[in-house]
Symmetry: C2
Subunit: 456 residues, 2 copies
C-alpha cells in the first residue's frame, strides 16, 4: 500500500508545487488587522484541500482567526496522530529587501521564495498532500489522522488553549506530529525534541506630551529615548548574561549525554556564520554556539522606535519611544515567573521623569520530549525512507507554544519532523522552501503514517 | 516719519494675517527631497514681497535651496543692518497629532496654527512687513537694510558659509538682526544674547545581513538593538552628566552677574512644566532649570529605529538599528573637538559583533553677544515701543549656526529679537504664532529701524 501512495506522490510532484504557490499567494498575516479576511481565506484553502479528498473537515471559530479541524476516523489496532500546523504567516518586514514580492511565490534555483513558504505553509502542506495521497491511492489511511491547522501561531496562539481544552475528547491522540522546524543541514533531516519558550514584552516610555525642540527644552526633562537605552542596557552584562534577578535559577542544564550528542553533530560554524552574515559568533560566556542556540535562555531587542525616524536630522526630544524585547526561555523556566521578574526589574531601572507602560505580547513555556518512544522511532524511519538519510536529534531555539499545551491537555508528546533549511529566512526577507524538501517531506509524511501503524 | 509707518502697519493688520497664511501654505520642508520645489516656492514668495514694495531683491542659488538677498541702498549717516531669517520649516512629524493640518493655517483663540508659523515664517514676516511699511508710507528707509533669507536653516545651513564668504562685501553691516527666538513669557518680550551650539550625530549598527528569527539565531550573535542601547546608556551617568571624556573641559561658566540676572527672572517653573506635559523637571545635578536650559551642554536621543516597529510582536533580531543623538554645546566648547570626542567614545563603547557607521548631520558652535552695544539699546527701545513693555535679556538652548558665522565673516554681532511664545511648539505638532505678536512684532521691527538710525 505504501508503495502505491509514494508512487502517487511522485507522479503529482509538479502539481504539488502549483498548489503550494496557490497557498502562498494568500497574505495571511495574522498580526495585521487589515489581513483578517486573507488570513481566514488561507484557513479555507486548507479546509477545501481536505474536503476535496474525502476527509471530513470543518472550520472551528475562535475569538480571532479560525482553526481547521479534520478527522479521518478510527482505524482498528492503529494509533491516532494529530497533525498540527498553522496557515498564518509573519509580517513581511521591509518589502524592499525581498528579491521577489513576498506574496508572489517565485522559484529560483530549486527553491520557492515567499512569506510562509517554510514557516509553515510549505511544511504543513506535506502532511495534507500525504493524507490526500493515501486517500486517492488507497481510499483510506493506515492510522487515524486528525488535523488541527490554526491561524494564530505567529501571534502566540492566544485562542488555542480554550479551544483545545473544550475539544479535548475530539482531539484525543497518542502523538502530535508537526513540521515547523528545520532539517539539520542541506542533506540531513532532523527530529527536534526540544524548543525554547518565549516571553515577549514591549516597554513604552512617555515623557513630554509631544515631541519638543531639543534646544529649547533639552537638559530640563528626562528624555524617554535615553531612559529606554539605560533600561535595556542594564538587562545584560558584558558577558552577555541576563542580569534580571533569578533569571537562571530554574534553568535545566543539559545532561552529559545531550552535551556529548551536541558536540558530535557536524555543525558547520563557518557556514552558519556566513548564512547569518554577521561579523562574529558571540554570546553568553562559557557555552558553545549550539548550546547557546538550543539550550540557554536569551534576551533580545526585537524592535525600537520613537522620535524622529526619517532620513536626516530633526532636533526633537521624543514624546514617546518603545522597545520590543523578548526572552527565549528553556525547559523548567516558568514563563510567568520570568515575566514577573522582568517587569519588576525594568520598573526598578526606570529613571524618574518618564512614565512606563509594559505590554505583554506573549509568553509560553519551553518543551522537551522523550526521544525513545515508538512514535519517535516511526518518525526516524520515515525520514530515512523519505530523504534517504537517517535524521539527527536536535533542539531548537524557536518557540512552539502549542507543545506544552498538548502535553498538558491531551497527555500527548510531540514529534517535530523538520523539512526546511535552517537558514530558510523564516521571519526575515526572502523566506524560502526547497522544492526537493517539499517532495521528500511529502514522502516522509506518507511513510510516517505507515510506520506509525506498525510502531510498538 | 515713524508715526506714519506705524499707522500704515496698524491699518494693514488684517491683511498681514492673510499674507502670513499664504506664506504658511507652502510646505517648505528643507530636509525632505520631495519638497525641493515647495521649498524654492517659499523663497520666491519672499522675493516677490520685497520686489513688490520697491526693494531690489534677488535669488542667490546654492548647491541646495536658494537664498533671498535684498539691499535697500545706502542712507547717509545711518548704520547698516542685515536682517537674517529663514523660509524653510521642520518636518511635520506624526500629522495625526496636529489638531489642524500643518500646512492649512488655522486661527484658534487669536493664534495661527501651522508648521513654520513661529519658526520662522511668522517672525521673519514682521521684518518684511516693516520694510514694506517704511517704503509705502515714506518711500524710503531710515537705515540701509539688507535681507538674507535662507532656505536651509532647519538642516544646519550647509551652503550658507561659502555664500557668506563669497558675498562678504555685499553683506557688510554693523549689526545682524533676526527674529527666530521667543519672548520670555506671554507679556514680556526678550532679547536673546546667547545660543547653544549643536553637534548632531547618528549611529547606525548593523549585525546580520537581514532580520533573523530570534529563536533560531538568538544567543549566537550580537544584537544591534541591545548594542545600541548599551552605547547610548553609557554616554550619560546617573547625575545626567555626559561621560564623554573632556566634554566639559572648555565650558565657559556663567558669570556671577549672569547667574544673578537669571535668578531674578520671573521664571514660572510650574507653567513651564505644564506646557511640556512631562512628569518632572529633571537634569544635570547642581544646576537650576534655567541654567541647564540656557547655559549647560546636553546630550539627547532625538530618534531611534530598527527591527520590528509595527503594532504587535515579531520575533526578529534586527539586522540594523539607528539612533539619532545630538549634543547642545555652550560658548567656548569647540564643536569639532566635541564631535571627535563623541566618535572616539562610541567607537570604544561599541561591542564586538556589529559594524558601526557614524553620520554627522550638523555641527556648529554656540554664540554670545555683548548686551551693551548701541544696536542692543535700539532693539530694547523698539521692543518697548512695539509691545509696551521693556524686554528682558535671556539666553536660548536652541542653535543658530549663522551667528558665529556672521561674527567671523562680517565682524557683526547679532541682535535676536523674540516675538513668539516660548511654548510655540516649534519642531513639534501644533506649532503656533500669536496674531498680536505678528502685529506687535511688525511694529517693533519698524521702530527698530527708526531707533537704530539714531543709535550711537
Amino acid at each position: 500500500m505504501i508503495d502505491k501512495v509514494i508512487s502517487y506522490i511522485d507522479q503529482n510532484k509538479d502539481k504539488a508545487v502549483d498548489r503550494l504557490k496557490d497557498f502562498l499567494r494568500i497574505p495571511s498575516i495574522s498580526t495585521d488587522p487589515e489581513r483578517k479576511g486573507d488570513t481566514r481565506k488561507a484557513g479555507e484553502w486548507v479546509l477545501k484541500l481536505l474536503t476535496d479528498c474525502g476527509v471530513k473537515a470543518e472550520i472551528i471559530e475562535t475569538k480571532g482567526h479560525p482553526c481547521i479541524f479534520a478527522d479521518t476516523g478510527p482505524v482498528d489496532g492503529a494509533p491516532t496522530v494529530l497533525i498540527y500546523g498553522h496557515y498564518d504567516v509573519q509580517p513581511t518586514g521591509d518589502e524592499s529587501l525581498w528579491k521577489s514580492p513576498p506574496f508572489e511565490p517565485t522559484v529560483r534555483d530549486g527553491q520557492i521564495y515567499a512569506r510562509g513558504s517554510a514557516d509553515d505553509k510549505g511544511q504543513v502542506l506535506t502532511h495534507l498532500l500525504a493524507a490526500e495521497a493515501w486517500m486517492k491511492a488507497g481510499g483510506k489511511l493506515s492510522c487515524r489522522v486528525k488535523f488541527l491547522i490554526e491561524g494564530e501561531e505567529e501571534i502566540g496562539s492566544p485562542n488555542l488553549e480554550p479551544l483545545i481544552t473544550k475539544l479535548k475528547d475530539r482531539l484525543a491522540c497518542q502523538y502530535v506530529a508537526l513540521s515547523d522546524t528545520p532539517k539539520f543541514d542541506k542533506t540531513t533531516p532532523a527530529i527536534t525534541y526540544g524548543t525554547k519558550g518565549l516571553v515577549y514584552k514591549e516597554i513604552i516610555l512617555t515623557g513630554p506630551k509631544q515631541n519638543l525642540h531639543s534646544g529649547s527644552y533639552g537638559g530640563t526633562l528626562t528624555n524617554p529615548g535615553n531612559a529606554a537605552c539605560t533600561i535595556i542596557a542594564a538587562l545584560r552584562d558584558a558577558d552577555n548574561r541576563v542580569t534580571i534577578p533569578g533569571f537562571y535559577d530554574d534553568v535545566k542544564s543539559l545532561t552529559d549525554e545531550e552535551r556529548k550528542r551536541l558536540k558530535e553533530l557536524p555543525f558547520d560554524e563557518k557556514g552558519y556564520l556566513e548564512a547569518m552574515g554577521a561579523p562574529a559568533l558571540i554570546g553568553e560566556k562559557g557555552y558553545s554556539t549550539i548550546e547557546r542556540r538550543w539550550a540557554r535562555p536569551t534576551l533580545d531587542v526585537n524592535g525600537m522606535y520613537g522620535g524622529f525616524m526619517g532620513v536626516g536630522a530633526s532636533t526633537v526630544i521624543p514624546a514617546k519611544v518603545g522597545i520590543k524585547v523578548s526572552m527565549r526561555i528553556v525547559p523548567n523556566q516558568d514563563p510567568e515567573k520570568i515575566n514577573k521578574a522582568f517587569e519588576e526589574t525594568v520598573k526598578k531601572l526606570c529613571p524618574p521623569g518618564v512614565k512606563m507602560e509594559i505590554l505583554t505580547h506573549s509568553y509560553c513555556a519551553a518543551y522537551a520530549a522523550p526521544t525513545d518512544s515508538p512514535g519517535m522511532r516511526a518518525a526516524a524511519a520515515a525520514l530515512k525512507a523519505g530523504f534517504g538519510k537517517a535524521p539527527v536529534f536536535i533542539r531548537e531555539g524557536g518557540t512552539l507554544p502549542i507543545l506544552p499545551l498538548f502535553k498538558r491537555e491531551l497527555g500527548a508528546d510531540s514529534i517535530m519532523i523538520g523539512f526546511c533549511m535552517p537558514d530558510c529566512n523564516a521571519h526575515g526577507p526572502n523566506e524560502f522552501f526547497g522544492l526537493d524538501d517539499l517532495h521528500n517531506g511529502t514522502r516522509t509524511a506518507a511513510h510516517f503514517l505507515s510506520a506509525l501503524a506498525k510502531a510498538r
